[in-house]
């Protein structure tokens, strides 16, 4: 195992660290999903914004993370990219 791996494991012993890490990982994945949709649709932020009836700055804000978008906003984002969105839950 690499030294880095070792440090990581040690750090993960701390629940605070672990939780923070997981939260970040989730957010990355979340943003990645948005970006995948937009790039799959071949749209710029500006074009997407227009389709959603909003401004590119707001799209950027969304895609930079750190916010807590509503389900409605996410659906509109998806629709503007030509997709449907669904939630599903799975055992923790």
């Amino acid at each position: 195992m690499s030294k880095l791996q070792h440090l990581k494991e040690r750090a993960f012993q701390n629940p605070e660290v672990r939780h923070e890490y997981d939260a970040l990982a989730e957010e990355f994945e979340f943003i990645d999903t948005l970006l995948k949709m937009r790039t799959a649709a071949g749209l710029t932020q500006d074009e997407l914004a227009r389709r959603m009836g909003t401004q590119k700055s707001n799209i950027s804000r969304l895609e930079k993370g750190g916010t807590n978008p509503s389900w409605g906003t996410l659906k509109r984002y998806a629709h503007a990219c030509g997709f449907e969105l669904s939630i599903d839950f799975h055992g923790a």
Copy 2:
């Protein structure tokens, strides 16, 4: 085809009607997902509310629909039920 089916098809010619219908269907499915999580966890609204650090009245409001909850709220709901939540998109 039943008379009812026939009426339905006629009504669906109207895009307004169609859209409204789809929106309702989506919301039903959405609420159903929430309910499925809570019942799977065997929780009452009150118990769930306590786990989420809120009130049962707010849970009821959520589950009655007509609102536009944030992604964060949905995740907290799921977590309180012992689930993880994920979004995925699929071709319209």
